[in-house]
C-alpha cells in the first residue's frame, strides 16, 4: 500500500505537499493540512455535536409540553442516551464515510481525509481514526490541578499534546489515529478556474518582436517567468523593477537593447514570447508607439517619443497589462 508512494528522500523539497502515485503512473500532489486548519475544524465539529444534542433535548421538551408523552418518556431518555453515544463516538466516522472524507467542520475549513494512497477513505479507516481521537486528545488537564478550585472536578480539558506531537513528527502530518488507519488530511482547494495570465498591452508583443529569434527560453527560465507574472501584482512597481532587473540586465546586453527599457515590461515580453505568442501572429496596432525601437543602435533614431517620455509611459504604476484570473498561491 505505502509502497506505491515514493519513499522520502533527502533531496525532496521541504514542503507540506505529498505526492501520490496512481496506477496510471502519474504523481500528483496534495497539500497537507496542518494543525492550524485541523483545530478549527475539530472545534466546529464539537459545536455541531453539542447543537445536535441540545436540539434533541429542546425538541423533546417542546413536544412534551404540547402533547402528553409521559408513556413514551423512558424510551425518549433511552433514545437520548443512545443518540449521545452515537453522536460522540461515531459522528466523524459516519460523516467521513458518507460525505467523502469530510465532517461539517472539515467542509467548512476546506480540508478532507483521504487514504495515504490518495483514495477516498472507507468505513473501516474512518472508524479507526475516529475512535483513536481520544488518545490523540490526551493528556487531559483538569483545571483543579492548576489551582482553579471553583470549577467542577469533572471538567477536563483535552490538551491534544499526543496528536500534536505526532503531527509534527510524521511526514504526512498524521496523528496517531491517522497512522493506525493509514489516512492523511489534505487541503481540499476548490478554486477551479484556470489561471493563465493574459497580456493585452500592445507594447508587450511589440517589445517581444524585437527579441532575437535565436534566443531559446530555457525550461527554468520559463518557470521563472510564469512565477513572476503570477506574483507581480502583489509587488509595488519599484519592487517589481528591483526584482526583475537582476534577470533582465544581462539580457539587455545580449539583446543589445537600450539600458532604459523597463525590466518589468521585458519580463512580460519574455513571458509572452514563451507562453502566448503564435509564430504567425500579426503584430498588433502599435498606435503612437509605431516606429519605436528598443534596440541600443536605434537610440538616436528619431521617433515620436523621447526616451524619458517613453519610460514614464511604460512605467507600470498604472499597470496596463492585466492578469485574466487571480493566480492561486
Amino acid at each position: 500500500m505505502s509502497s506505491s508512494s515514493p519513499p522520502a528522500t533527502s533531496n525532496e523539497p521541504l514542503d507540506t505537499t505529498i505526492a501520490v502515485v496512481t496506477p496510471e503512473n502519474i504523481a500528483f500532489k496534495y497539500q497537507l493540512a496542518g494543525p492550524f486548519r485541523r483545530l478549527p475544524a475539530y472545534l466546529i465539529d464539537v459545536a455541531v455535536r453539542w447543537i445536535v444534542m441540545i436540539l434533541f433535548i429542546v425538541v423533546m421538551m417542546f413536544t412534551g409540553s404540547m402533547v402528553d408523552i409521559r408513556f413514551m418518556s423512558p424510551f425518549i431518555v433511552a433514545a437520548g442516551f443512545i443518540l449521545n453515544f452515537v453522536v460522540s463516538w461515531f459522528y466523524g466516522t459516519l460523516f467521513e464515510t458518507y460525505f467523502n472524507g469530510r465532517t461539517i467542520g472539515k467542509w467548512a475549513t476546506g480540508i478532507r481525509v483521504i487514504d495515504v494512497d490518495g483514495r477516498p477513505i472507507d468505513g473501516k479507516r474512518a472508524l479507526i481514526r475516529n475512535l483513536l481521537r481520544v488518545a490523540d486528545l490526551a493528556p487531559m488537564a483538569a483545571p483543579s490541578t492548576f489551582g482553579a478550585d471553583d470549577v467542577p472536578p469533572m471538567l477536563f480539558i483535552p490538551t491534544a499534546m499526543i496528536g500534536l506531537t505526532t503531527i509534527l513528527f510524521t511526514r504526512r502530518m498524521q496523528r496517531l489515529g491517522d497512522l493506525a488507519a493509514g489516512t492523511m488530511v489534505i487541503v481540499d482547494e476548490r478554486g477551479w478556474q484556470l489561471p493563465v495570465a493574459k497580456v493585452d498591452d500592445p507594447r508587450v508583443p511589440a517589445l517581444a518582436s524585437f527579441i532575437p529569434g535565436d534566443y531559446r527560453i530555457s525550461r527554468s527560465m520559463a518557470r521563472t517567468l510564469a512565477i513572476y507574472t503570477e506574483r507581480r501584482h502583489f509587488l509595488t512597481p519599484a519592487r517589481r523593477r528591483e526584482v526583475a532587473k537582476h534577470l533582465t540586465n544581462p539580457l539587455l546586453d545580449r539583446f543589445e537593447f537600450r539600458r532604459d527599457v523597463d525590466p518589468d515590461l521585458l519580463m512580460y515580453a519574455l513571458y509572452y514570447q514563451a507562453f502566448l505568442a503564435e509564430p504567425s501572429a500579426e503584430l498588433p496596432d502599435m498606435g503612437p508607439l509605431a516606429g519605436y525601437s528598443p534596440l541600443a543602435k536605434d537610440a538616436n533614431k528619431p521617433t515620436g517619443f523621447t526616451p524619458t517620455n517613453e519610460t514614464t509611459n511604460i512605467d507600470p504604476t498604472t499597470p496596463s497589462t492585466t492578469v485574466a484570473a487571480e493566480p492561486q498561491i
Partner: protein, 380 residues
C-alpha cells in the same frame, strides 16, 4: 505549439472532466441530466478516457513548459478525478457479520494480547476479590482500595430488593450502552499509548473485585440483592472490558513491536487486527447493556439469572474456542498430509517414492494419482 493555444485546446476537455467529476461527487454517478455521452456506461467510459488524457497532460506539463499555476490546477484536477475513479467501499453490513463471526473469534484465539489482558483483568479481579472478602487477614483493604463512602453507597443501593418497573429498564439499558461501551471504547483508544489502557483495566479490575469481595462478606447488608443484580450481566460485561483492553493493547504493541515492518505499516496492520476484537467487544457490551437494563434489575428468580449467566458464559466460550479454533489446520489437506506422514513415520520403511515430492505432496494426489501413492492411502 504555444502554450496558450495548447491550453485552449485542452481546456474544453478539462472543463468536461470537471463537470463529470462534479456530477459524480454530488450524485455518486455520472451525469443523468447532462448530454447523452455523459449518461450511464457511456459517461463512465468518457470519464475514464478524459481522466487518462488529463493524466497525460499532467505528465507532459513540464515538457510543455506549462506555467506553475496550470500545473497546480492539473494536480487538483487529476486528484479530483482519481478520487472518483478509485472509490473506496463504504460500510458493508454483510462484511461486518463476517468480521464479528469469523475474523474476530479467530483473532481473539490467536492473539497473545487477549491472553495478557484477560490475565491482568481476571487475575487482579480475583485477587482483590479475595483480599476484599477476607477482613480478618487483610483488614481495611476494601476501604483503602475503593473508599468507605463508596462501599457504604453500594451497600445502601442494594438494601431494597430489586423491583424495577419497565420505565426504569428502558432508560437504564440506554444509559449502560452509552456509559459502559463508552468506557470500553476509551480503553481501546488509550491502548495505543499502552499505559493508560493498562491503568484503566487494572483500576476497573481492582475496584470491581474489591466491591465484589466486600459484598460477599456475611455481615454486609444487601449482599443477596447485589449478587442478584450482577450475576446475569457479569460474564458479558467483564469479558467485554478485557476484550476492549486487549484490542487496545494490540494497537499499542504494534507501535513498538514492528516485526520488520516500518513503524507506520506495523501500526496500520495491528489496527486491522484490533478492529475485529473491538467489534466483538462492542457486541458484548451491547448484550451486557440489555441484560443489565432488562434482566438484572428485574425481580426474576435467582435461578433464572444464574442460568442466563451460565448460558452466556457458554456462548462466549463457544464463540472464542469453537469459532476461534484456527480453521486452516482443519482442512482436508491437513488431515491427508498428516496421514501420509504418520504412515511413513511409523512403518519406518524407506519408501523410494517418499523422496519423490510429488508422491508425498497431498496436493498431487488428484484423481490421476498413480499407483504407489494410492497404495499409501490404502494402507492407512
Amino acid at each position: 505549439m504555444k502554450v496558450a493555444s495548447l491550453l485552449d485546446r485542452r481546456r474544453a476537455q478539462w472543463n468536461e472532466l470537471e463537470r463529470l467529476c462534479g456530477a459524480m461527487e454530488n450524485r455518486g454517478r455520472t451525469d443523468g441530466s447532462g448530454p447523452p455521452e455523459h449518461r450511464g456506461a457511456r459517461g463512465i467510459a468518457r470519464f475514464s478516457s478524459l481522466y487518462r488524457s488529463a493524466c497525460a497532460d499532467l505528465a507532459l506539463a513540464d515538457a510543455y513548459q506549462l506555467p506553475p499555476a496550470t500545473v497546480a490546477y492539473l494536480h487538483q484536477l487529476v486528484a479530483r478525478a482519481h478520487n472518483q475513479l478509485y472509490r473506496a467501499k463504504k460500510f458493508n453490513p454483510s462484511s461486518w457479520v463476517d468480521v464479528v463471526f469469523r475474523e474476530a473469534p479467530q483473532q481473539i484465539f490467536a492473539d497473545p494480547c487477549v491472553r495478557v489482558a484477560t490475565l491482568i483483568f481476571f487475575g487482579l479481579f480475583s485477587l482483590s476479590m479475595y483480599l476484599g472478602y477476607n477482613e480478618t487477614m487483610f483488614p481495611g483493604f476494601a476501604s483503602a482500595m475503593v473508599g468507605s463512602e463508596q462501599l457504604d453507597a453500594v451497600e445502601e443501593m442494594y438494601e431494597e430488593p430489586l423491583s424495577g418497573s419497565l420505565d426504569h429498564y428502558v432508560q437504564m439499558a440506554g444509559f449502560y450502552i452509552n456509559h459502559n461501551t463508552g468506557i470500553g471504547l476509551k480503553c481501546f483508544a488509550y491502548g495505543i499509548l499502552i499505559l493508560p489502557c493498562v491503568f484503566i483495566l487494572a483500576y476497573n479490575a481492582i475496584s470491581l473485585g474489591t466491591i465484589f469481595g466486600y459484598m460477599a462478606r456475611e455481615d454486609v447488608t444487601g449482599s443477596d440483592n447485589f449478587f442478584h443484580f450482577v450475576t446475569a450481566h457479569g460474564p458479558f460485561e467483564l469479558t467485554a472490558i478485557a476484550l476492549s483492553a486487549a484490542a487496545g493493547l494490540r494497537l499499542g504493541i504494534g507501535l513498538f513491536r514492528t516485526g520488520g515492518l516500518t513503524r507506520s505499516d506495523s501500526i496500520r496492520l495491528s489496527a486491522q487486527k484490533a478492529i475485529p476484537i473491538m467489534a466483538a467487544s462492542v457486541v458484548l457490551f451491547v448484550l451486557a447493556a440489555f441484560t443489565e437494563g432488562f434482566l438484572s434489575p428485574s425481580p426474576a428468580p435467582y435461578l433464572f439469572k444464574a442460568g442466563w449467566a451460565i448460558m452466556s458464559s457458554g456462548m462466549i466460550s463457544f464463540y472464542f474456542v469453537v469459532l476461534g479454533f484456527p480453521s486452516q489446520t482443519r482442512s482436508v489437506g491437513y488431515f491427508s498430509k498428516q496421514t501420509i506422514d504418520w504412515d511413513s513415520d511409523t512403518e519406518g520403511v524407506p519408501d523410494p517414492l517418499a523422496t519423490d515430492p510429488l508422491a508425498t505432496d497431498p496436493l498431487a494426489t488428484g484423481p490421476l494419482a498413480t499407483g504407489p501413492t494410492k497404495g499409501v492411502i490404502d494402507a492407512t
